[in-house]
């Protein structure tokens, strides 16, 4: 089905189910309860999960398959966002042309950067991509102000032409992004007992695109092209002496991952039509590397998991402050309560980065294959109980090392 093998169809179905049921799955706690702050099922955050999931899926096609570690992919995301906002300013508030332009512009941009950077490999390649991305960031911040609106960021105004739409909305305000009349911000709220579930149009647009992006990545992974990319990672000498030219393969992977980043940037602007230079900063490029490694480099599902994890920490852990902590431990004697709050304090709130950092270190040291390897080990533990060891000739190849070049 769909040109996929059975286990891949299952995986795709699982991803689709998780994406479409996310408003339920991410809101397990009733409104107003103590635990409600751990709910992540609100539109803004769910959109971010999915958009960064798309970004990481694309990044993994480059890094996971070829081993080329790019430190500049946020530049393509930023370029995608700017393109989309320009489309909203000039053409119309429909998200489709905006997203298409984001992908095209990011693709062209990555073709140029990739062409130059891929002349080197290893650390030199990484540094070149980093340099290009920082250059783009600085240009967006200063010289290119007419295009990027510098520090303020690019925003919609009432004076934008929007030749296929209206400059102003019905009520005289700036119009909102939409898909053939469905406003991206529109949300249907469902009250079920103490629970509140929110179904946001924008989120579902993102989710559908995520499933499509995942399907595309799956096809690439299973294709001869994907096989060649893995061969590049493993042994370029053998590749060359087998009559294959590594450069066009790596460049194609670079451009494809750049287009994924552009798509993510375009979606980001479609959900909230503004674009700033900080989206291109090196920290943003580093984040997608962390997502991919944390989830499991070179696996299909890993990057999506990694993106979800990091965004969850960033948005949920960062909101736990001392008051919340005191609330949790209120039942304990005062001295103990203060001690516990004192101990937990550095790991939550503004300290969420520390928790994430420790978690990242633990994963890299104990689970080099990321969260996916953790999952596989667990699955193996359970399987061992039902079935004696399988046929040796059918055993699967070891997980590829997660950092190459």
């Amino acid at each position: 089905m769909l040109g996929l093998e059975k286990k891949d169809v299952t995986l795709l179905a699982v991803v689709a189910l998780l994406a479409f049921a996310a408003p339920f799955i991410l809101n397990p706690f009733p409104e107003g309860s103590e635990m409600a702050q751990f709910n992540a099922g609100y539109p803004d955050l769910m959109q971010r999960f999915v958009i960064f999931g798309i970004f990481a899926i694309g990044y993994n096609i480059l890094f996971g398959l070829t081993g080329y570690l790019s430190f500049g992919h946020a530049a393509f995301l930023g370029v995608g966002s700017y393109s989309a906002v320009w489309m909203f300013k000039l053409l119309s508030m429909n998200v489709i042309p905006a997203i298409i332009l984001s992908i095209i512009v990011a693709g062209l941009f990555s073709l140029v950067i990739g062409f130059v950077s891929l002349r080197r490999s290893g650390i030199y390649f990484s540094i070149l991509t980093l340099a290009f991305a920082q250059m783009s960031f600085n240009l967006a911040y200063s010289v290119l102000t007419p295009i990027t609106n510098g520090e303020t960021g690019l925003q919609l105004t009432l004076n934008d032409p929007r030749i296929l739409g209206a400059s102003t909305g019905a009520d005289g305000s700036i119009p909102v992004t939409s898909l053939f009349g469905i406003e991206m911000r529109s949300t249907y709220e469902m009250h079920a007992g103490a629970w509140l579930f929110q179904f946001n149009a924008g989120y579902y647009v993102c989710a559908i695109i995520l499933v499509a992006a995942f399907y595309l990545a799956m096809r690439i992974f299973r294709s001869p092209f994907g096989l060649m990319l893995r061969a590049v990672k493993t042994n370029q000498t053998r590749l060359n002496y087998t009559g294959l030219n590594a450069r066009p393969y790596t460049l194609a992977a670079f451009v494809i991952s750049g287009m994924y980043a552009g798509l993510a940037g375009g979606l980001m602007a479609s959900m909230d039509p503004l674009a700033g230079a900080d989206r291109m900063q090196w920290t943003a490029s580093g984040e997608v590397v962390l997502m991919t490694i944390l989830g499991g480099t070179g696996t299909l599902l890993g990057p999506v998991l990694g993106a979800g994890f990091i965004k969850y920490f960033e948005n949920i852990f960062s909101k736990i402050n001392d008051n919340v902590l005191h609330g949790w431990f209120a039942a304990l004697p005062d001295g103990l309560e203060d001690t516990l709050v004192f101990i937990v304090h550095p790991f939550v709130g503004k300290g969420w980065n520390m928790t994430l950092g420790l978690m990242f270190m633990a994963v890299v040291i104990f689970l080099p294959g990321g969260l996916m390897e953790g999952g596989q080990r667990l699955a193996k533990l359970f399987r061992k109980k039902d079935k004696p060891s399988g046929d040796d000739s059918e055993h699967h190849p070891k997980q590829a090392p997660h950092v190459a070049e």
Partner: protein, 251 residues
């Protein structure tokens, strides 16, 4: 005129003259062995043929075309495959995937964006790879992580990867080093069979004289970067210069 013509090739590494005025002519559909003591320049000579090294002077012609100045993948696409002295395989991939890659390279050339086909659905390529694995007795190992195999198996795999490309010229740098006796004999049989079944020319570097004398039609003896003699195996066996420079030194 041979399929491979090497004329007046010199190669220096700093102060070391690794190859000096090497002339070599390999005739089509023969097995040409190159023997010589360690450091004689045998691997260096192969490196000059496949584009890994560029000779300082001289010419290398394959089938009437110069290989000099071409990139390794272009030379391979001309029909030259090479087995390395230390096995070069795709260690992170399975044995089957290792053999599939050269199949695709032969069919699709140096690059093709075949991102929407599925490897497992490419029946023709799969059959070809499986047939090759059968020929080298590795079918049962097809799902193995190739880096975890023994050195002998890696060599056998590398040879399969080269053979499946159906090259016109196969260069083998010590193909049986690190193999058990039985595997060495299997390799000899395999190469003999290939030679009979297909139009293929082989240049083989080998220290194991049993292998050399079982396969070679002609032998070139290289010492200190210079070809000493070139003759048939029978004549080489009794050649005094060879005994002194090579067989003598090996004893």
């Amino acid at each position: 005129m041979g399929i491979l013509e090497v004329k007046g090739v010199n190669k220096r590494f700093g102060g070391l003259q690794a190859l000096s005025n090497v002339n070599l002519s390999v005739q089509e559909n023969t097995v040409h062995a190159i023997i010589g003591p360690n450091g004689a320049g045998k691997s260096t000579l192969l490196n000059c043929l496949v584009g890994k090294l560029i000779p300082d002077t001289g010419s290398v012609m394959f089938d009437g075309q110069s290989v000099l100045g071409r990139k390794p993948h272009e030379i391979n696409q001309m029909g030259i495959s090479r087995v390395f002295q230390t096995p070069e395989i795709f260690g992170d991939l399975t044995v089957l995937e290792n053999v599939l890659i050269p199949c695709f390279a032969r069919r699709d050339g140096a690059f093709r964006l075949h991102a929407f086909e599925t490897v497992s659905a490419e029946k023709e390529m799969m059959d070809k790879a499986m047939q090759m694995l059968e020929d080298v007795n590795m079918v049962s190992k097809r799902h193995m992580h190739s880096a975890s195999m023994s050195r002998g198996d890696k060599r056998r795999l590398e040879m399969a990867m080269c053979l499946v490309q159906e090259p016109r010229l196969l260069l083998l740098d010590e193909p049986t080093a690190g193999m058990a006796r039985a595997d060495t004999n299997n390799t000899i049989d395999l190469l003999k069979e290939i030679k009979e079944k297909r139009d293929i020319t082989m240049a083989i570097i080998e220290h194991d004289m049993h292998v050399v004398f079982s396969l070679a039609d002609r032998i070139t003896v290289l010492a200190q970067g210079t070809p000493l003699v070139e003759d048939t195996p029978e004549n080489i066996k009794g050649h005094p210069k060879v005994r002194e420079a090579y067989l003598g030194e090996a004893a």
